[in-house]
């Protein structure tokens, strides 16, 4: 992975920069000892690492602003970091960068049930947001699979999704406001516990900007009343096309399940061997979850059963108890772990129009065979968000590169059929150089203008999102 040449002036001034940061932060808030900064040299895209210049761990918005002012004055790039769970390298540092970790800012600032929002510090984990309100019967809807560990700050940076977004949307649809600190150290309130922006929807473009526009220190999040109940069904098919047609029919029928998950045979076999969830040995499997009270669940499942029957499923299994429901989800939730037992894997998340599913799966099969690497598919079928898992062996020279080439081919295929490179993980460094596949130069130019306004010197997370050659003139 190509990264810009570190700024030699910054490297030469390391001691002075660290001293200035120490002057504005508490003593335990600045780390520059190389043995201690190791923990920050990569995120969940662990194939790529780089030791940063230093790490700062502020506890307040004022400390974040103070640290950013120092870095701005010194011309030091800053890489914001939530919990470091990015699969796209969103928080991977460069040698001349200060990592600004927000994890110590994790307090709940306000819970307002009457107006259905919470305000939290952005280092709080996704699941802990729900934890603050679940006793009152509420929850925070976006549920990325890393929700136990990932921070709200990172969710906002990547506009994270989850399995239930068919009904509840992704982060941007559940975010009401932020406290944003700009690279120059200015603290700005955007949005709040009310609907719609007063002027331009800056919140809409901040969400998903991969930490390139500012550092979010606080967030106002919409919370929802927990539904009375939920139940999954498992439906097995003997062909991917049939499973795809069944998904289309369910959606057309006016049932809106909260989740429709899809697994193909390689994935079913791997998870079954690993998690023993009792999945049928079939070509394709759907997990469809509906919500509501008992009678409402019965009404929706009745319709789904009728629709599925028209497609001759090899299995239709309705959870009869909490335990059975858990078992149906067990395999899906263990899918990544199961694939990891077989080999190292690379997880992509391109999105495709649901109608292109059979064609895309067929083509992935061909590409996989040609590359000599196995691919398993887990897929949020309701919204077209694919998760092809490419298996490779990190210890075999050249295997990672082969996997990356296959990954790039699969993502190009997603764009070609009308989809996109990434549905929920973000671009980061991983898909940066593929942006030109999806966007014309004018499209990227329009996006980069937004960064020009928020961060004119391009110091915040500068080597991400845009191909290096495209952003070169701006990065200085």
């Amino acid at each position: 992975m190509q990264m810009p040449v570190p700024n030699p002036q910054v490297l030469a001034r390391k001691a002075a920069i660290v001293a200035r940061l120490r002057a504005v932060l508490p003593s335990d808030g600045v780390i520059d000892d190389p043995t201690e900064t190791r923990a920050y040299e990569c995120d969940a895209l662990s194939a790529y690492r780089c030791a940063p210049l230093a790490v700062v761990l502020p506890r307040t918005t004022a400390e974040v602003a103070a640290a950013l002012r120092v870095c701005h004055q010194e011309g030091v790039p800053v890489v914001p970091r939530g919990a470091g769970t990015s699969l796209a390298g969103g928080s991977m540092p460069s040698e001349d960068a200060v990592v600004l970790g927000i994890a110590r800012m994790n307090r709940v600032l306000e819970v307002d049930l009457a107006n259905r929002f919470v305000r939290v510090e952005a280092g709080r984990t996704n699941l802990a947001v729900t934890g603050a309100v679940e006793g009152d019967g509420f929850f925070y809807a976006p549920d990325p699979s890393s929700q136990l560990a990932c921070a709200i700050a990172g969710n906002i940076a990547m506009n994270s999704g989850g399995a239930h977004c068919l009904k509840y949307g992704v982060t941007t649809n559940n975010l009401l406001g932020v406290t944003l600190v700009t690279m120059a150290g200015e603290v700005i309130e955007i949005g709040g516990p009310f609907a719609d922006a007063a002027g331009l929807d800056l919140l809409g473009v901040i969400c998903g900007s991969e930490g390139q526009l500012g550092v979010v220190t606080e967030a106002t999040l919409r919370i929802l009343p927990r539904p009375e109940g939920a139940r999954p069904v498992l439906i097995g098919f003997d062909a991917n096309e049939v499973a795809g047609a069944c998904v289309a029919d369910i959606i057309r029928a006016g049932v809106l399940p909260v989740a429709i998950e899809f697994m193909d045979r390689p994935c079913i076999r791997a998870t079954e061997a690993f998690a023993h969830a009792g999945y049928p040995d079939c070509e394709a499997l759907l997990i469809v979850e509906v919500e509501g009270a008992e009678a409402e669940i019965a009404e929706q499942l009745g319709l789904i059963r009728q629709i599925a029957a028209r497609h001759d499923p090899v299995e239709f299994r309705e959870a009869q108890s909490e335990d059975e429901a858990k078992k149906i989800w067990l395999g899906r939730k263990s899918a990544f772990g199961a694939m990891g037992q077989i080999n190292d894997y690379m997880c992509l998340d391109g999105t495709i129009p649901v109608s292109a599913l059979p064609r895309v799966l067929r083509r992935i099969g061909e590409l996989s065979a040609a590359a000599g690497l196995d691919v398993g598919n887990v897929f949020h079928a309701g919204d077209g968000n694919m998760h092809p898992l490419i298996l490779y062996n990190a210890n075999t020279p050249g295997d990672l590169e082969r996997a990356e080439r296959l990954g790039a081919d699969i993502l190009k295929l997603c764009v070609e059929v009308g989809g996109c490179l990434t549905g929920e993980h973000g671009v980061g460094i991983e898909k940066r150089d593929l942006m030109g596949v999806q966007f014309a130069p004018e499209d990227m130019e329009a996006q980069m203008r937004v960064k020009d306004v928020f961060d004119p010197r391009w110091l915040l997370n500068p080597a991400k999102v845009f191909p290096l050659a495209v952003s070169a003139g701006r990065r200085g």
Binding site: T172, A195, G199, S209, P225, P227
Partner: protein
């Protein structure tokens, strides 16, 4: 100017010698600017792509809202955010276009459950102030590739670019709906009842108040489910007074509420407040004039005496107010200096000559 293709529109903008007023159906003249030639988008019309099974519609910006609704209704689907026409309450005669709906980020009562217009919008094409054609987002509902200019364009009132094509996530039309009416409640007292309904697990898709009707709460979905939830809600809301059930009249009732129809014959200036719902009773009391509430009290349509500064009258509250029917200048709420600077910076980059609806948003 009334270009028939995106390329012609781009050329018209490149060749523009001075400011232009971007016009869809000209039904929402909020912050209207005068004495500037119009650029009409009405000839850029038609469906580009509609895949009912993928819940996806791509349409040209000048297509009328009526046509979009008809195309979707033919497949039993609809725009989730329930866009409303403001022509009646604003006293305009044109046909609302889908581009205008997006430019004003118009969302109706279902916003409380399905999100705003910007939340259903998944892709845009637009021409910026230099005449460059830009696309962002796409036709899939989960997409985090690059910055989200889709949201930025929604509600930008034609000040960053002229929309040419829009992609939406659509949803199936619910087979059944029921509205509960609480006729005893005044506007201020209604807010607590609406909040209780929205805080319940019964998936409320509308919560408002209208003069002459009272507080109204809607549920939609499959038949048995709607009956079940309406029953549960009626029991929950019984402590606020009499609860009546309305089925046949439900759609008309929500159209009237969403269009703020009861205020159309009231003389005075019309304002639209977006605020924290629990602050609505205080604001309503201070405004002391006719109102319609939507979004559980988070949206107040209010009529105040002509020329009266409703923002000052209503203060304090968390949120903002737009002057909907009155003179053009000052329609949009003043924002904090750093936000103004960022917004001005964006306009200067997207429209360096300052020719697109200049001054419309203040």
């Amino acid at each position: 100017m009334r270009p028939e293709t995106e390329a012609q529109l781009a050329e018209a903008i490149r060749d523009a010698a001075g400011p232009i007023r971007v016009v869809g159906g000209d039904t929402r003249p909020v912050g209207r600017i005068a004495g500037v030639p119009a650029l009409e988008t009405g000839a850029l019309r038609g469906v580009v792509l509609y895949e009912p099974a993928a819940l996806t519609l791509v349409v040209r910006a000048g297509t009328t809202l009526a046509e979009v609704e008809a195309v979707l209704a033919a497949e039993g689907q609809r725009l989730p955010f329930e866009p409303m026409r403001w022509g009646s309450v604003l006293g305009t005669a044109g046909e609302s276009t889908i581009g205008g709906v997006v430019a004003a980020n118009v969302s109706g009562p279902r916003r409380v459950q399905a999100g705003a217009c910007r939340d259903s919008l998944i892709g845009v094409r637009f021409v910026d102030g230099t005449g460059a054609v830009v696309k962002n987002g796409g036709r899939v509902m989960k997409n985090v590739t690059g910055y989200d200019l889709v949201k930025l364009m929604a509600g930008s009132w034609g000040t960053l670019g002229v929309l040419t094509e829009l992609a939406f996530k659509v949803l199936p039309k619910a087979p059944a709906e029921v509205t509960l009416v609480l006729p005893d409640l005044g506007a201020g007292a209604a807010v607590a009842a609406l909040s209780a309904a929205l805080g319940s697990p019964y998936d409320v898709t509308g919560a408002g108040w209208m003069p002459g009707v009272g507080a109204v709460v809607r549920v939609e979905g499959l038949n048995d489910s709607v009956t079940y939830r309406a029953g549960k809600l009626a029991a929950l809301l019984a402590r606020f007074g009499e609860v009546r059930e309305e089925r046949a009249g439900s759609p008309a009732l929500w159209q009237s509420l969403g269009e703020a129809a009861p205020l159309k014959s009231q003389t005075g200036d019309l304002w639209r407040f977006s605020l924290k719902p629990s602050e609505a009773p205080g604001v309503i009391a201070r405004l002391a004039g006719p109102v319609v509430l939507d979004w559980g009290g988070g949206l107040i349509w209010a009529v105040v005496p002509e020329g009266c500064d409703a923002r000052t009258l209503a203060a304090p509250f968390s949120g903002h107010a737009t002057w909907m029917r009155g003179p053009g200048a000052g329609a949009f709420a003043p924002e904090a200096a750093p936000v103004v600077a960022l917004s001005a910076g964006l306009r200067a980059r997207f429209d360096p000559r300052g020719i697109l609806n200049p001054g419309r948003m203040g």
